[in-house]
Structure formats: structure tokens, C-alpha cells
Symmetry: C2
Subunit: 75 residues, 2 copies
């Protein structure tokens, strides 16, 4: 089990999101369109400013082809 | 990778939450107190009625001693 005290969930999500998006060659705008969320909202997530709801986590995970679990993984 | 199309994130969360809570012998009220969320809110999560924010997912995961990733895992 990953130590969840070493990295906050928002930080883990932001890190994973930027990495997965970059690996797929997607801009914030392109991923936002794919996931059906606003590009400004996605920017806010990557800056750890937003308390993302589970439904949007699922939309982002589907758009990236990963599980929600992978999207929030800390390892 | 788990097929995220077979089980919604809310359903996975509700299933994991009930299982983990039960394994620890915690009532909804006891877990709510531990996590710092309202007992009615926790009940709503277990009924898949709430779009839980990432910050509360992290509070619940910490209270249960698991990672956020484990809390939303579909396998």
C-alpha cells in the first residue's frame, strides 16, 4: 500500500494528469474536449486548485484510457 | 488495467467503502466521525447518491487506512 501521507490526493492527481496527458500528446484543451469538461476547469485541476468530483475523475480517466484508480495513484 | 466501463466509479466507491468499513467493524456513524464528514453524507455515498470530491475521498481513505486509489479501485 502506498503511503498516502507523503503526497496529497490533489497533488497525485495533478501529477498523473499532466504525465498521462503529455504521454498522449494532448493539450489541456484537447483533453478537456475529450472528457467533456471546461478547459479552465482542467487547468485548475492541474494547478491543484479544484476539489474534483468523482464523476469528473471518471470522465477524465475514460478520456485518458486509464482507471480512476490509476488517475489518483500515488506511486 | 481494470475495465472501467464495467463498473461506474460511484458504484466501485460504494462497494469498497461498505466492504472496508465492515471489515473494520465500523458503523457509518463511526467512520463518518473518524473521517470528519457528516454521517448522512457518508450514507449518501454508500447509496451512490453523492458526487464525492477528491478531498473527502482522501479523508475517507485516511480514516480507513487505505490509499485513495484503493478506495476507488474496480477490481
Amino acid at each position: 500500500m502506498t503511503d498516502i501521507n507523503t503526497l496529497s490526493a490533489r497533488e497525485a492527481l495533478a501529477t498523473n494528469l499532466r504525465r498521462l496527458r503529455s504521454e498522449r500528446g494532448l493539450s489541456q484543451e484537447a483533453l478537456a474536449d475529450l472528457a467533456g469538461v471546461h478547459r479552465n476547469y482542467l487547468g485548475g485541476i492541474e494547478r491543484r486548485e479544484r476539489n474534483v468530483g468523482l464523476d469528473n475523475l471518471e470522465r477524465l480517466a475514460r478520456a485518458l484510457g486509464v482507471s480512476v484508480s490509476e488517475l489518483v495513484a500515488t506511486a
